[in-house]
Amino acid sequence: MSDEKKLILQASDVSIVFGGLRAVSDFNMNLHQGELVGLIGPNGAGKTTVFNMLSGVYTPTSGEITFWDRHGKVHVVNKKSPAALNKIGIARTFQNIRLFGNLTVADNVRIAMHAQRKVSPFDVLFRTPRFFRDELMMTLRVESLLSLFNMKKKGDALAKNLPYGEQRKLEIARALAAKPTLLLLDEPAAGMNPQETKELMESIAAIRKQFKVTILLIEHDMKLVMGICERLFVLDYGRIIAQGTPQEVVSNPQVIKAYLGEDAAV
């Protein structure tokens, strides 16, 4: 099935070494347009390191990551800065929430639209009509993005004053503001209760349909991703130990071993 779909991201033999530690080795991954894929694994398996390489925060020691943008143009991810990658369509959220705490919720989202600005510094300094048009457009988009998570009324609150769950949602809204084609979500449900998690997973599935965006999702609780992900990659000690549909993955003895230990697998 996935062969018919267009490839959007390809990582081939990607490794990264910190000092003497091989955090991720020989990582291979193909993502296709519109997929919802999970990257799972125990704590410390290297999931966030993979994300940091895909989003340009880290440069891989070896291997190559290729990304096809919305116009089908090929980009090599390896040496691009996170800002440049964001412009071509890779947006991400952070496991340890990184919002602009002292700015308002609406401004947090607006900042991610900076690359789409139509104004010049002159428009801004002298408040030309184009400035007001641009700001109005941004405000409308901010409202529609916030209303995805029922946060439309919180636009003027400071981001640091939001409850934890809403801060996570704001991160997703902010990532979507950049109009990405690939969305990387790093443990979006961390710290949420089961009910909140279920709702969040449903809205993630809805977002994928509405924005026609490919989503790669990190989660270390396997149960959560079983329901919504089409494919799963399981990472342990920096290596992919299994991949395939959720059903294939849960019955894989190596996965059981990684999650539950040697004895359970026997």
Binding site: V57, F100, G101, L103, R110, I111, H114, V124, L125
Partner: protein, 348 residues
């Protein structure tokens, strides 16, 4: 919403107009004496320098300890351009600010790529280098004796004080307006994003290096303007202008007024400049008094007097209107109650 915008612009425009022209008139008519006028105008220059520091430290989130270096570059440039090249004063003021901005670019280029407080060390060294160069290049800068720069602003007793105030506070107001327009735009938000979280800003499409650079160069430009106004106003400058002491003085305005608050740092600059003069009756003890004020503020209000907030005329007007409305409602309620009671009494 548009109506509100026009109304607010009209109110702020009127306030700016009054702030610039009414004192000018009062100074011209000798209601405000020349000595006080001199202090207020110096406060204006200090406010410009405070804004310069605030753009780096409060808004871009970097620490600069050499902002006076840019002031000195602006001041010496304006003298050299006018005296040696014969360029008219207003033009050379703009050129001097551009020269300062260029120096900001040169210093920022290698340092702003690094994470951490490297800028503080480099700017500290920069200020000292400028001072030492100014002391030693006697042929061009006049060395430690400084340079005379007689202009209409400094020598004319009839027009000087009023004109100085008009020019300097006029420029200050223009800077504040343009700066506020800039901060409340997508560019300003990008710079604030860099201040808040560099990694998150970078991952959201804001080039961290570029916007740190924009902030630093704009700050250098504003610092250059401060110097370019200082030289013709005082009429005499010395290399000490670039000293560490002077940089720290500018930093104090911002720390006291509130990092990131434009109104806070401008107010603090005016108040502290006036305080320094006001406290002269304490003789040398005033040097003791000043740090005590600082320590008290840092103890009881470490984020500065205004913190990151802005003092807003519009919001205070709206607040007053809101209070009036609430009072009117209370009065109405009270009136209705009284009427009810009297009615009740009448029935009995």
């Amino acid at each position: 919403m548009k109506n509100k915008f026009y109304r607010n612009t009209a109110i702020l425009g009127a306030i700016a107009f009054v702030a610039v022209f009414v004192p000018t008139l009062l100074i011209k008519l000798d209601v405000i004496n020349a000595y006080t006028a001199q202090i207020i105008t110096l406060g204006g220059i200090n406010a410009i320098m405070a804004l310069s520091v605030n753009i780096v430290c409060g808004i871009t989130g970097q620490l600069s300890l050499g902002q006076a270096g840019f002031e000195a570059i602006g001041a010496y440039s304006v003298i050299l351009l006018t005296q040696n090249l014969g360029i008219p004063l207003p033009v050379s003021m703009v050129l001097a600010a551009l020269i300062a901005a260029f120096f900001g670019f040169l210093i920022g280029f290698p340092t702003l790529k690094l994470e951490g407080d490297y800028l503080a060390i480099v700017t500290l060294a920069f200020g000292e280098i400028i001072r030492v160069v100014l002391v030693n290049q006697k042929g061009i800068t006049g060395g430690p004796n400084g340079k005379q720069f007689p202009t209409i602003l400094s020598t004319d007793f009839v027009w000087g004080p009023a004109l100085s105030y008009l020019v300097i506070v006029g420029v200050l107001v223009a800077i504040i307006i343009l700066l506020q327009n800039f901060i409340r735009s997508t560019y300003g938000r990008a710079i604030l994003a860099v201040r808040e979280d560099e990694i998150a800003a970078n991952s959201n499409g804001v080039s961290v290096f570029r916007y740190k650079m924009v902030g630093f160069v704009v700050a250098s430009f504003v610092g250059g303007i401060g110097g370019a106004l200082y030289a013709p106003f005082i009429g005499f400058i010395k290399p000490d202008l670039a000293s560490f002491n002077n940089s720290i003085n500018d930093l104090i305005f911002v720390v006291l007024g509130g990092m990131g608050s434009v109104t806070g740092s401008v107010l603090a600059a005016f108040v502290l400049t006036y305080l320094q003069e006001f406290l002269r009756f304490l003789q040398n003890y005033r040097l003791l008094f000043y740090p005590v004020i600082l320590i008290l503020v840092m103890l009881f209000r470490p984020q500065g007097l205004l913190g990151m907030k802005e003092l807003s005329f519009i919001r205070s007007i709206e607040l007053v209107q809101h209070i009036k409305r609430v009072r009117a409602m209370q009065r109405e309620k009270a009136g209705a109650k009284q009427a009810n009671e009297t009615e009740g009494a009448a029935e009995k």
